[in-house]
Symmetry: D2
Subunit: 307 residues, 4 copies
């Protein structure tokens, strides 16, 4: 049975920086508390949105310790152990365990080309190395490998995996996975990472969502979850429409791609909304500026978050 | 406003062949009438599922004429004009118009590498060449180009495009398109081509579905559409679960990929269900055999379509 | 043993158009004769460069007939039979045979997703359908499938394939193929389609080249072939350096991609050099204009082809 | 002018492991000395072949210290600083500098999606952080970004980059880069990383090669370099033919892909030749076994390295 601790809205936390790229602890506390106060059911730290791959080991530790301290047991914390291959992922997993998180999240190995055998072995090695629930993070846009659904299910049934965080962009595969998992008694907690299709994911039976956009505005995601639990699908969808509009903050920036546009937009919106102090980005990424900030403010205004 | 003729379930028709790869007209009539009798709202002929790219011009004409004759105005017929570049697409469009279809469907140009300018010009040239509603077919897995959502919307607002048949596999982009289209007063009819996520598409506001699986079993898709219209989302989703299970006929074949597995499975299931006479495939594709047929029969049995 | 008719420089012919996109026969004759007079060893017609995929069946026939008439047996003519799947390729092959070409060239099937089995069957079906030497055209950038080297060699040893035209962009795979072919007694004629690395291909043992750039300036490619035959590798490489510089006509255009930039640049250079009358392009592609023409003239001047 | 220290054959070192996956120092010394004794002109440590991404920071340091100690100034040592983003690459670069290498090698940033701006900034930040020559490592198969040739040349002319290690698999882009670099007075040292097309690279003017296969057999690569310097291109090519045959050790393993097949084959061949003690691989990769070892022995025998 799916672990009930890991159901609902688990925002992947944005990491606020100071102008000189130190961790902005005050902004971070503000943002974390704002999400928890809004009723999110957990947090996912050191995922792609948390700029984990831009962080030194020291910075990763600093982020994790801050989150665990601020959260203080109010909600469960999942920690990413993102790195290129097994040994480093295990190092990160052990640090996360020592700091006191509730679960860890790992991708397929990357950089060196791997097959399914290596992907499976990687999850098994990590599972064996620590005493924490392990989520598989399916994010082919970053690791350039789609996790096979039947492998995920097998590892779930064996207890190697507790759940899946799906950012695969493969809604068909996602639906097959939901259905296979359901037939087997829900060994896996299945969370969607796609902010704008959470309604369909819930309708299909997903156990929760990991929406980066919740850093900007957490309340609708919580309301959407509650509506889904109550079977009020019209409300689930209309909230989704609102959130799809708001998500356009990541689409309007010009001349910027990928992380700089996506997380850059989250940070810019959060700064404009007074949640964090700067929209500074980690090297080598430039922060959004000028017309891109204006375009994001425009979307925030259209979503009634700015006047 | 979205054209009301093109709403609901529009199965992409499978093309039955005889053993020696002639068009099996009797089987075709049986399959078409079965879908119309089940209540489908239209048909999409000469799409990927119809083996359009395997067909000579003569065969395309034969297929279209058969469909128009058999349908006899009972439901609207959309005809694919799939080919590599503009001039050939226009030739196909003129033939389709002369035979009497209700609309045509074109992809981005392919083989020769194109940019957005060529994609836009292609749709404009086709629109200018015939007097029929034009749908854009977004199928990057075949043409290796994703149609940009803002281009689709612009062409919809200008009246160049009447609708979009989305097989993009990009649920996030699909949801953005639905939302943008809605904000502009629904200039586009937006149909999803992904059989197993129709529930989420309807919840997000899609105007219909183009499910290949409806050749195997059309009734649930019609019931699902009716449930969506009635706002009975629990029923929409539970029908989808059933259909996701049934869609596993395309997943269980071993040693086969792509068209041979997908349409091969549709044909095999249709043959086993007595709808068509053979599961013969067009050259150079081999038909499914042996254990693959057994595996498909097993799925059909689990779905209560075979005993 | 490799067929000696198909060795040396086989330019893929550019198709000159009039302003209103008719075949410009006078320009075409001029260009063909210029290449033959320069000493090219054959011609490849209706390849990607010939805008084959933009052409109706009628236009394909017109192009082929013109070439066969103008060439009049002076050099061998290879004809592309490019289309999506087997039946259409066979139709084209039969037309080409009836017009009187010396060999045909086919790609892997495309649009519908295929595996190695379908690729192999496709070549076998075409080989069986006509009585002409068959070349495999390896061009994954257009058909999105790399032809496996061991399949090519097997089909060569069985006499299904006479040769390979390699535009794979995979120099490592190309070198393995050359070496495997050599070990088996050269059943395949192996031609490179990459204009700027012909020197390395010859050094590795390739039987010839299919350089689109030879439409702009054929003489250096003929001289390079002669130098390679004489073992004068310094000359082979220095000619290549000159040709790599000249090939920058395809790199300097701004705001254009793919076919519009590549063949667009060939046509523009040919027009500026007085070989053809317009740089008109087939629909939906726009011709190069303005600064892009200036940039191409600049490259031509630096290569001492314009003053 | 290209830095003369970085010309010639620079094998990327294989990292021998003990059965329990510790660094096998004795085997490593044997292998390093064997290559230096054969006359290689330098070594590239902590590249993809060195299993850098499988290594903890501690293991990276251990490898580097061993190499610097064993080489003892006999040849220059380039050290990879491979990691996902800038801050970690800089950490590795500082360690490498402290241990005493002669230059460092960095890829584009990866995992988080980047544009050209981030790629450029990444190289500039690394260059500013240490006082060592910096090579760009172009390896899109691992980082999923091709380094743009004009960016490389610009950074070379500004002194940010000393050279390029090209494993791009894009021979056309490589030749354009060689030619542009030559026209600008060779600001960049350009090395090819593709073992089987070194002859063409040298003919085109490359400054050297980084052949993983030289771990298995270094002597032919040294002889090939000498022949290229002497202009004996027939010999350059015939040595290449021999090496292409030998490189089939990486092609013959069945049921294994990517790193497990490639470096797995190098290690297996080195073990069979008595150079290293085991063919153990880093987690999560399995070592080659059984028939795969036999197939590699067969290739070694055909290349007269085993009887």
């Amino acid at each position: 049975m799916a672990d009930t601790r890991f159901r609902g809205v688990f925002p992947p936390t944005v990491t606020p920086l100071t102008e000189d790229r130190e961790l902005d602890v005050a902004s971070f506390e503000r943002s974390l508390n704002r999400m928890i106060d809004a009723g999110v059911h957990g947090l996912f730290v050191l995922g792609s949105t948390s700029e984990v791959v831009f962080s030194t080991d020291q910075r990763r530790r600093e982020i994790l310790e801050t989150v665990v301290r601020v959260v203080d047991g109010r909600v469960p914390v999942l920690a990413g152990v993102i790195d290129m291959q097994t040994e480093r992922m295990i190092e990160h997993a052990k640090v996360a365990q020592s700091i006191g998180v509730d679960g860890i999240v790992a991708t397929a190995p990357f950089y060196a080309i791997a097959g399914t055998a290596e992907i499976e072995a990687n999850f098994r090695y990590i599972h064996d190395a620590v005493d924490l629930p392990l989520f598989a993070y399916d994010i082919p846009v970053c690791v350039h490998k789609k996790l096979p659904g039947d492998l995920l299910l097998k590892l779930g049934m064996e207890g190697v995996l507790t759940g899946v965080k799906d950012s695969s962009g493969d809604d068909v595969g996602f639906r097959f996975l939901l259905e296979m998992n359901h037939k087997e008694g829900n060994p896996l907690n299945i969370l969607t990472g796609h902010e704008v299709v959470v309604d369909g994911a819930y309708l299909g039976g997903a156990d929760g969502a990991v929406p980066g956009l919740a850093n900007v505005y957490p309340d609708p995601y919580v309301q959407q979850w509650d509506a889904a639990q109550a079977g009020d699908w019209g409300k689930v969808a209309s909230i989704q429409n609102y959130l799809a509009d708001l998500m356009r903050i990541t689409v309007v920036p010009k001349g910027v791609v990928g992380f700089g546009a996506g997380v850059g937009a989250f940070k810019t919106a959060m700064k404009e909304l007074g949640i964090i102090s700067t929209n500074q980005m980690p090297r080598p990424v430039a922060r959004l500026e000028g017309d891109n900030i204006k375009a994001i403010r425009q979307v925030l205004a259209e979503s009634n978050l700015l006047s």
